[in-house]
């Protein structure tokens, strides 16, 4: 390799890495700032904001955030909010995947009248996100007596045009002969779905789970409307609750809410990290 070539290579490598490092910093710095602010007393945050100083308050804040109740009734500790968030995120993702798969299964594999029409009707619901139909949805949930329940949190959001669409596209790419071979092998519709289609969709399910879990985890508006009991609060909304306690001269518990914010980031990150390897494997391994 000639000298000039080497220099060129080095320069391009430096630029590449520079871009990557800048991007990483851009994403990570806010979290680092949050972490720093959990280590100093709340009064100091008000006075100075984020600094480079690392204090000794982290343990205290962590304990307060996770185990001590906050709010009016004293029922929402960080742990219970974490639990609620997990139930919402997982219930949301699993439900959406299951319903999306079943809907797509019906549309693709069964000769239904108006199957195409049904599909496009489902598809057009993409134009009607929750925010548009929030009042009627609330009305229905309220009428069904599902306020302050997990069902009320999850079920009204569970129908998913996106998941239906993705699974429909995927099912259509499954070779016809596989269905026919299964029919001759004596697999009925249920067996075919469980024995063949589900395992084949593994990577699709992983991808959908990432998207839907994060989506469900980050829900804010809907839980705010549906849950009024403090023991039903999710993390995302509990954080807000803590900072809101601004009565007279009381300093908001910034340290505590910052810990909660960090805790709220961890599960989606874990989900993405865990399923991503699976997801990528599914995309690169080209045996269907």
């Amino acid at each position: 390799m000639s000298l000039s070539k080497m220099r060129k290579l080095k320069l391009s490598m430096i630029v590449d890495h520079g871009v990557l490092i800048l991007g990483s910093l851009f994403m990570i710095l806010p979290l680092v700032m949050l972490l720093q602010m959990t280590t100093i007393p709340d009064t100091e945050i008000i006075k100075t904001g984020p600094t480079l100083k690392i204090g000794d308050q982290f343990d205290d804040n962590l304990y307060k955030a996770m185990f001590e109740a906050s709010g009016f009734a004293g029922e929402n500790s960080g742990l219970s909010m974490l639990k609620n968030s997990l139930i919402l995120g997982i219930g949301f993702a699993v439900g959406k995947i299951l319903i999306g798969m079943l809907a797509a299964y019906a549309i693709v594999y069964f000769r239904l009248r108006f199957a195409t029409l049904a599909f496009w009707l489902i598809f057009t619901t993409l134009l009607l996100p929750l925010e548009v139909r929030i009042l009627p949805s609330y009305e229905v949930v309220q009428w069904l007596g599902m306020l302050n329940t997990y069902q009320g949190l999850i079920i009204p959001l569970i129908a998913s045009a996106t998941a239906t669409f993705f699974f429909r596209q995927f099912f259509r790419s499954v070779p016809e002969e596989l269905v026919e071979a299964a029919r001759i092998d004596g697999a009925g519709p249920v067996k075919f779905f469980i024995d063949i289609l589900m395992p084949l969709s593994k990577t699709m399910i992983a991808a959908m789970f990432i998207i839907m879990f994060v989506y469900g985890w980050n829900q804010y508006l809907w839980p705010t409307m549906i849950t009024t009991d403090e023991d039903m609060y999710t993390l995302v909304r509990g954080i807000k609750q803590i900072v809101q306690v601004l009565e007279g001269a009381v300093v908001p518990e910034y340290g505590r809410s910052n810990v909660l914010a960090l805790v709220a980031v961890i599960p989606p990150v874990l989900v993405v990290v865990f399923f991503q390897s699976w997801f990528v494997k599914g995309l690169t391994e080209s045996d269907k």
Partner: protein
């Protein structure tokens, strides 16, 4: 084992396309029947109707003594081998072969025994725990075969099972499939567009064209006595030479040479297999050879007889060169066809 009876079987698609005109024939017990024809001739449709994957528009289909028009594919006691193998990609070879048995509620130990037996028969034993993606094309084909034989069905259906393999493997698998069918004695219907496969494997060939059966017969019958010009030109490589001739005064006249008596009058088509010409200095016909195709064991001479293109098949010891060549025609080698309908006279 069972015979398969087609009784006025018809297939019309909802858009009005008639994929299969009323068809009658019977496949005998233990027979290896090959459906052959160009793409779109209805042969796959016919096979899929036997499998129960395609509805029958009219007519009765019976397997054994039972009319199966409305019987579910799983209950027809058939097994099918698909062109692209249709193996379940997420299952091991063992599970692929045993899946049909499992769905029928066969006991686990019984499944294991039968799968081992089938795998041994097909030399698949070392691969039982592999996934289909780790196997070669020929091995996948064998797994598909294993899936069929493990169920011990009354009828095997093959839908162009060898067309995804390379030529060498195809020859080998052809022999293996035929030998296996002989050993098991199971009635089989085999669909292919490759006339070589049809000739070499079939007990009886069913030649199809445009939704109709053109001819049913043994490979020798179909080859030497084609019922129509379509069969004559489809079977055999190179195909039969089809030359315009006239019957004049009770004699077939081709290029001004008489080829014996014929009852017909007027224009006809004379069919002569390339190997039925023989180079002969005393021969009646002169062919102008344009091209010599060397095939090792023999040669093909492409040329013109009058205005018509002809192919002559000669042994490799005879001299071959371009230019005029006098040839004779073996006695009784001429097949006469109606000039308009293409039917045998």
């Amino acid at each position: 084992m069972a015979q398969v009876q087609f009784n006025s079987i018809t297939k019309t698609y909802p858009n009005g396309f008639e994929a299969l005109k009323p068809t009658n024939f019977t496949i005998k017990e233990g027979e290896f029947a090959v459906l052959v024809g160009p793409s779109g001739c209805g042969k796959s449709t016919l096979l899929r109707m036997v499998a129960g994957l395609e509805d029958i528009t009219a007519g009765d289909l019976s397997i054994g003594t039972r009319v199966v028009n409305h019987v579910d594919p799983a209950d027809r006691d058939i097994a099918m081998v698909f062109q692209n193998y249709a193996l379940y990609p997420h299952m091991t070879v063992r599970k692929n072969i045993g899946y049909g048995l499992k769905n029928r509620g066969t006991a686990k130990s019984e499944i294991a025994r039968k799968v081992d037996e089938a795998a041994a028969m097909l030399n698949l034993t070392p691969y039982l725990e592999s996934k289909p993606s780790q196997l070669s094309g020929g091995q996948r084909q064998r797994v598909a075969m294993g899936r069929a034989i493990v169920r011990d069905p009354a009828l095997f259906l093959f839908d162009e099972p060898l067309s995804n393999l390379d030529a060498k493997l195809r020859n080998q698998m052809r022999i293996e499939i035929k030998a296996l069918q002989r050993r098991l004695g199971v009635t089989s219907i085999y669909v292919t567009h490759d006339q070589v496969e049809a000739m070499t494997m079939a007990d009886r060939i069913i030649v199809m064209n445009e939704g109709r059966v053109e001819q049913i017969g043994t490979p020798a019958q179909v080859y030497h006595n084609p019922a129509t010009t379509f069969v004559a030109s489809f079977m055999g490589a190179p195909p039969m030479n089809l030359l315009p001739a006239v019957v004049d005064g009770g004699q077939v006249m081709l290029e001004g040479v008489s080829f014996g008596p014929a009852p017909h009058r007027g224009k006809v088509i004379a069919g002569i297999r390339p190997e039925d010409f023989s180079p002969d200095p005393e021969g009646d016909l002169t062919i102008h050879v344009d091209l010599v195709e060397e095939l090792g064991a023999h040669r093909l001479l492409h040329g013109k007889l009058g205005e018509e293109a002809v192919t002559v098949h000669v042994a490799n010891e005879s001299v071959a060169q371009t230019g005029p060549l006098r040839v004779g025609v073996k006695p009784d080698a001429l097949c006469l066809f109606d000039a308009v309908e293409g039917n045998r006279i």
